[in-house]
């Protein structure tokens, strides 16, 4: 077994009202792995992702990402950890609406360390957005917005990429393009955890984890 990028030790998350979103989940993901977490709605996929990016804390158990116990971090420490180690890709994209595509990417640099316009342009160019850098998010298509979102997640060269339904709002063509980007990232050695309810998308990752009612019901390695 190689060095763990992500390790969950008997993790549970119970919301107020007794809703048990995760129930004793244990998981080991090695560095450089590409894992798809799948399951129906309400299976605990998003809760798992929120625990991994430090936006939520487990009720029980430990969540370790790159050796750091995220449950022990306060909100600012968790923010520091995210900006230095993790790239987040959202299903709903989420942008600062009054900043251009380039500025939204540069915003991630600003909170990470220093703003490097050249580097931000380069990553947008790599994702085929060279001619859309000065457009506002509202002026971009769904596929373009997702590519800007990926550029923002990758600009600080994170070791772990967490993606929440990265193709959920995209058409077939854009879906394929985004998956190609993920394949390239995987080949570069990034650890990727991707939440999806789409089994076809999930099968393109290196391994799949199937969640149901807050528990891992199946774990499969494809390659």
């Amino acid at each position: 077994m190689g060095q763990a990028a992500i390790r969950l030790e008997n993790v549970s998350r119970v919301y107020p009202g007794g809703i048990r979103a995760l129930d004793g989940v244990s998981l080991h993901i090695e560095q450089g792995e590409w894992v798809a977490v799948m399951g129906p709605s309400g299976s605990g996929k998003t809760t798992l992702l929120n625990l991994l990016d430090g936006l939520d804390k487990p009720t029980a158990g430990r969540v370790l990402v790159l050796g750091t116990d995220l449950g022990r971090l306060d909100p600012d420490e968790a923010a520091t950890f995210r900006r230095e180690k993790i790239g987040l890709i959202f299903q709903g994209f989420h942008f600062v609406p009054y900043l251009t595509a380039l500025e939204n990417v540069m915003l991630a640099q600003y909170y990470h360390s220093i703003v490097d316009k050249k580097q931000a342009c380069a990553i947008l160019e790599r994702l085929g957005m060279a001619d859309r850098t000065h457009h506002l998010p509202s002026q971009l298509s769904g596929g373009e917005q997702q590519r800007v979102c990926i550029a923002r997640a990758l600009v600080n060269e994170p070791q772990v990429v967490l993606a929440d339904e990265p193709t959920g709002n995209l058409d077939e063509r854009n879906e394929a393009e985004v998956m190609n980007i993920f394949r390239d990232l995987h080949l570069e050695g990034k650890t990727i955890l991707m939440v999806t309810h789409n089994h076809d998308i999930g099968r393109r990752s290196g391994s799949q984890v199937l969640l149901n009612h807050g528990r891992i019901v199946r774990q499969r390695f494809t390659a």
Partner: protein, 423 residues
Amino acid sequence: MLLRILARSLARRRSRKLLAVLTIWVGMTLVVALITLSLDVRDKINRELSAFGANIRVEPSAGAVPVRVGGYELAPRIGQIYLNEGQMEKLETLFWRNNILGVFLRLWVQVRVDGRDVPLLGIGAPHGSAAAGSVSFTPDSLKGYGHWHVKGAWPQADDECLVGVDAARELGLTPGEWVRLTLAGRTRSLRVRGIVVTGEREDGALIASLSTVQDFAGLPQKISEADVSTLTTPENKLAEKYRLDPTSLTPAEYERWSCTPYPGSVAAAIQEAIGGSAARVVRRVSETQGAVLIRMEGLMTILGGLTAVVCCLSVIGVLTSAVLERRSEVALLQAIGAHRRDVLLLFSCESAALGLLGGALAAVSGPVLGQGLVNAVFGGEAGSLGVLAILSPLLGLIVAWVACLWPVSQVLHQSTAQVLHGN
């Protein structure tokens, strides 16, 4: 990057930003106007109250026998020692000369009327005033006696007089009659123009112009006392401490006392300037002035404070909806690594810009409204206060900061995960 975000953010949703600026502008205009009014109210009220008598009396020191009861200095008996009118010019050299609103000279002599001893009071304005060289009653010489109630008319000429209400009853005098005075073998007749009620010792006296009494008594340029109407600060614990025991003040306290225009410190400065004189505070007047001023200033402070609070609440209302509608933006910033202080800095800078703009506008409109209020209430000009040009934007800044604290703290405590997932 922060400046870029700020510029873009401020340029967005302009109507909401303008509403916030407008709210701060209107609120700060009221606050600045009330400050203008309250800073002017002391001077204006003091001037209004000066009509109810002078608050400092200057007498020859040899004639002033200080008698203290419970810390209050009582009035001495009238003596046959006089001050010279010319000594009053020393008041022009006083540190507090700009606080002097009026000087009223008085000469008391005892005359006989119909075989009775009756006090005769001469009143007039000093040389150098608007009444200089005049021998008659003038508005200048009478304005310190606005609290006297005259039945009939004020004297207009040197051969006219007022009669105190008690003296008029004893002597059976009515307006229009002539009264014949005798003093050291000299006689003089004066026509009674009015009967005066003062509530003081003048009720038992005849009152004529100062020059008439000086001529009649053979006391040219002599006065028994001078009433000085001054702009003063209401007494506080320090002034009271000095009044009860002047030696109890530390050097620092004495310095502070002597550099503040308390009635006592102004009286002490007058006494020091006019050789051979004793200046004492007329408590009845100064305490009334002090009480009125304290109440007025308290009222203005409460009004100003309430206005600032109402303004703050209004701005909170505007900024709350402006901040809360950006919850997902804040959640995004935190998700990509912004600390709480980064978010606070962003909103503080935005609020500061709105507050400074609203406050800067109020720095122009506030004094104009303040001038209007001063004019409406007191009918005069308000003093110009350059400090308001700095104070107003500063107040706007503080109000905007205070107003943004609550909504920003709300979004900082939101669940970032829930907001990002649309819950």
